[in-house]
Amino acid sequence: MAPVDPLQGKELLKGNVAIAEAAIRAGLQAYFGYPITPQTELLEHMSLRMPQLGRTFLQAESEVAAINMVYGAACAGVRVMTSSSGPGISLMQEGLSYIACSEVPVVIVDIMRGGPGLGNIQPTQADYNQLTKSAGHGDFHSIVLAPSSVQEAIDFTVLAFDLAEKYRTIVFVAGDGMIGQMMEPARLPPMQKVRTTRPDWALTGAKGREKNIITSLYLGGEVLESVNQRLQAKINRIRAEEVRYEEMLTDDADILVVAFGTTGRIAKTAIREARRQGVRVGLLRPITLFPFPFAPLDELSKRVKAILVVEMSAGQMVEDVRLGVWGRVPVHFYGRTGGVVPLPGEILDQILALAGRLDEPPSGELREFVGMSVSVS
């Protein structure tokens, strides 16, 4: 009889290291980055493994330089990525805007930390707006994937490269200090071969063909408008085809919790306990923060009596949720900020308090609770 493998082929992996190794196995050819807590182990892993494999690793002088190195390597048509945390993502925004308009594929990992400002190094989800809505000047959106476990961090990193190349776009893997720092058993993907061919648009030297130009400069108003229309058409295609989410226990739910990433995972524990206490509550966990899962939210908002949004922020995704329910049901919010991670019990208290008020007659107005002091009691 074969020996039993208690981990079933999994390894005990730290989130940051798992993401780095997943990217390498997805055929990453170049990594450029700058140290920042709580993602630094990712860069450290790259610094060892990439040279071992004969691939490119370079520690840049700043996040400003790192993103422009990424931009350059992406123009050469190779798989390239960087990783950072909020303060570094802010510095990358200039480059991100150029990359978005130039339509070169790039993967960026954001292991979110407390803010604003220098903040701290504990987990938050307060870069939601930055990643989904304002990752640079001008009109564009990036695909944003939000893992809630180390396994998902691995899987979404591999997916990120495929999506980046499919749409020639920026793809963020949006974790937080919890996802980056925690260790849990997870299965790494098999090693893919590094691609040796280059896309026909890449800057490889104009040998036997017309020259290729990669730019975000279009001086004519109507020319730039047509570029914008092309970008928006692509973004609409992404909205139509790339929505990902998880639903749990929503079939008979009176209360719908909406939470992503780490918070989505903690909410599951609270929801199971609330179910044991007889409350019909379910979860919608957006996996793509952009494109946001508006369609399932629309359907669910027709069936549930109330929605509770839980985030590690002062309330960012809640705005998308409110937008998506058309005022059909009250949308409540519970958030912790500053790097404080909510305990399952806190979320449970919110659910139970909300359950006790479901039979109250509707007030006729959109009821909202904002701020970390909120409760539904």
């Binding site: 170049a30 931009y71 350059g72 123009c75 150029y98 490889t204 030297g205 104009a206 730019t215």
Partner: protein, 257 residues
């Protein structure tokens, strides 16, 4: 025997330059420096493996004027972008072409670090002591007392500091292999410029590290001078503050045959 007259081509546009008019002002020496670079690329036979990285500034449309693969960098970030392009395809020849605002002001960190790493790229630095594209504001290289649209009483060095000498500064970095300053205000300096461009590319082709040629270049429009007066202004005003010469020629460069 009857004399035969055969027409011979004695001069033509370099193959590395596109057959398009440039947007440069009459008398501006950007076009001349483009031509010198194009000629050298042709002569070295590297057109099909050379990639140009354009800056933000007057030469922002540079990729339209060269028959090369080209990219448009963010303001000052060309050396970082070139680093990315070169590191993943070391067999290509990658050059940036940057003005004084781009390289010496907003892009100071990127150029210093590209030189520090001995990045195997070539940088052409166009110093015309003014922001041309935005209409003639004070540059990091504007001369003391120089009147510009943002120093209308003349550059006050008590307030802004002295103009920065990039070639001298970068030459101090151990990673830099070839750093020189040239001009294009007369036939002799133009010829010397072309030689330096050639050496700079050969440094990169040999994998010998970071190479940079600074050019003193004219801006008749924003200096408010005629093209001829502008060339004289370079000679009379810029050359004394920015002496021409070789600031760093590493041994590995001297050994290049």
């Amino acid at each position: 025997m009857e004399e035969q007259w055969v027409e011979q081509v004695v001069y033509q546009r370099p193959k590395s330059l596109s057959k398009v008019p440039t947007h440069y002002c009459p008398g501006c020496t950007h076009g001349l420096i483009h031509k010198l670079i194009g000629e050298v690329i042709d002569e070295l036979g590297i057109r099909e493996r050379t990639i140009a990285v354009a800056p933000v500034g007057c030469s922002v449309l540079l990729y339209n004027y060269f028959e090369l693969d080209g990219a448009e960098a963010a303001h000052g970030r060309a050396p970082a972008m070139a680093t990315g392009l070169k590191r993943v395809q070391p067999d290509k020849i990658v050059f940036t072409y940057q003005g004084d605002g781009d390289l010496a002001s907003i892009g100071m960190a990127e150029i210093v670090w590209a030189a520090t790493r001995g990045e195997n790229i070539t940088v052409f630095f166009i110093n015309n002591a003014i922001y041309g594209m935005t209409g003639g504001q004070m540059a990091p290289t504007s001369l003391p007392g120089q009147v510009t649209r943002s120093s209308p009483m003349g550059r006050d060095v008590e307030m802004t500091g002295m103009p920065i000498r990039m070639a001298e500064m970068l030459a101090e970095l151990p990673g830099a292999s070839y750093v020189v300053r040239r001009s294009v205000h007369d036939i002799r300096t133009i010829k010397e410029s072309k030689k330096a461009i050639r050496t700079a590319f050969r440094v990169q082709m040999a994998g010998a590290g970071f190479s940079l040629v600074e050019f003193l270049s004219s801006c008749p429009t924003n200096w408010g001078l005629t093209p001829y007066q502008s060339l004289d202004w370079i000679k009379q005003n810029m050359v004394p503050y920015y002496p021409l010469g070789d600031y760093k020629v590493a041994d590995i460069v001297k050994d290049l045959k």
